[in-house]
Symmetry: C2
Subunit: 312 residues, 2 copies
């Protein structure tokens, strides 16, 4: 295994260990909801977002990333997992399969699935506020800035807003009589990118920014991470869309071609496959330039290259 | 109107004004999800929880409660509102009517209702982290402690955990083959109280504690608020159960007697009406004793008396 492969594997292991530590257990947590949270949280996810958080922390500070940035990394993964559980619900994307396993609502019922998502979202903010446990005023200030950054990215300005636009444009939302119809209900290329910047991009941006903030980075570095995260997030979504068209169900572990069936506008559908690939590569170039302009080393650049060539 | 009546009305107005200020608006917030959040947030709620936050702040500090404790008050109301939206979903209590109006999922569809709840929960933490805007290290420390306190109360140890137990005991959750059946699936009097301590009590406790924390109260005062909140929350739930049996649909604005139809265990069903009334009054006495033991004045005692006699 090469250097990057070793890094990714060791970071994945550290994240899984930390998630085990941060997730409430019985008797404080009722057994069934605890089981449902863990079912989705430990479902073989690639941990790309929390790895980005740790890699951003590593690129700023040489040591102690695990103490400083790990809570934020785990919170990001918990928020990502909650969004998958809710997106998979029959009321939204109605997905029965995720990462090769039945989705949470198939196993636990819709009610517990809604609550498992609610729980992961709430516990994410508890982890952010509670860890690392310290009264050091500089670190407390970083913690509240991280809560601010992640909450904004996960909320209506970011992820939830993007999912709401997605629901509305695929006709799955009721529009009350009083709601104006029009530009909101159809996407063009610009609208597609804006929707994904919210739905996928915002949390990825927050992931790298949170790592830098918790590692004590200066504002200019946090800004560079913001630029890196924006471009990485865009490329990530384009590659996801390409894999949805190209991938086999067996390999990707979810129903492929589903975007097209659901009438969702995707990058390949709008730009074609070749142009989509070019756009993804262009975003990764821009992401890496944001790092080099800020003289930031570490693994983020290699992770960006690897993401571009991923096959699942 | 008496003193308490004036206080409640002026606090309600101030809370509504602050909520308008804190809720994201277009273009940052996509219009439909913004509309859905506002639909439930401004649905004529009594604002009891945020009033408790402000009253707790008022009982600690003579001035500036509106700057210090108002963000926490609004966050508590946003979290309460999100919990109502999700509880009303067909996958949970399946309520079509709330406060005399169609519930969010009836108006906007289940998907947008799930997202409106997610959005209110997330924005609550954004409000807590972002306001009041200050670099004062003492206030920043209060803010992170408030996020910690509210996240714990709203999560699996508290509100979400209580709702999960409620779903499971009313048979609305799927139990995977691997889940042990047994004591979790039937409630006795102790289990009933423990479930409500999570589902209703935890957020009410956090509401008064957050007001005290943000007002800069010493730990002993925060502890007294914790005791007050526990007893107030218990009485609140018992009164709610009594009103469900006694109230008329017109007066309460929701379908009454529904608990019994749903097979939910309630205080009147378990203890009878007279004993339920005695238990509620006993809790309010204990709540007021927690205040007097800590020499805390202000409006909290009068609010507790008023809550006991409410008819809706």
């Amino acid at each position: 295994m090469n250097d990057l492969g070793n890094y990714l594997q060791s970071r994945r292991n550290a994240i899984d260990t930390a998630l085990e530590r941060f997730i409430p257990t019985p008797p404080a947590c009722p057994p069934l909801i605890g089981q449902a949270m863990r079912y989705s949280l430990f479902a073989g996810g690639k941990r790309i977002r929390p790895i980005l958080t740790l890699a951003a922390g590593d690129s700023v500070a040489d040591h102690d990333t695990d103490t400083m940035a790990m809570p934020a990394a785990c919170a990001i993964e918990m928020i990502h997992t909650y969004s998958l559980i809710h997106d998979d619900l029959p009321a939204m994307d109605n997905d029965a399969l995720r990462r090769g396993r039945p989705t949470a609502h198939v196993v636990y019922g819709d009610g517990i699935a809604v609550l498992a998502g609610d729980a992961l979202l709430t516990e994410a903010f508890h982890v952010l506020a509670h860890h690392p446990e310290t009264v050091d005023t500089a670190i407390v200030a970083r913690k509240i800035r991280t809560v601010d950054c992640i909450a904004e990215a996960a909320g209506v300005v970011g992820m939830v807003g993007g999912q709401a636009i997605d629901l509305q444009t695929t006709g799955q939302a009721c529009l009350p009589e009083t709601t104006a119809r029009g530009k909101d209900t159809a996407l063009d290329g610009t609208g597609l990118q804006a929707m994904h910047a919210r739905k996928t991009g915002a949390l990825i941006r927050a992931a790298v920014m949170a790592g830098a903030i918790m590692a004590g980075a200066p504002d200019a570095t946090v800004d560079a991470m913001d630029s890196f995260g924006s471009q990485f997030g865009l490329a990530f979504q384009i590659v996801d869309d390409i894999l949805d068209v190209e991938g086999a169900t067996e390999e990707l572990g979810k129903t492929t071609g589903k975007d097209a069936v659901a009438g969702k506008l995707t990058y390949p559908a709008f730009y074609g496959l070749a142009e989509s690939r070019r756009l993804a590569a262009q975003s990764i170039d821009r992401a890496k330039r944001a790092l080099s302009d800020a003289s930031l080393g570490g693994h983020l650049g290699a992770i960006a290259d690897w993401m571009l060539t991923r096959t699942h």
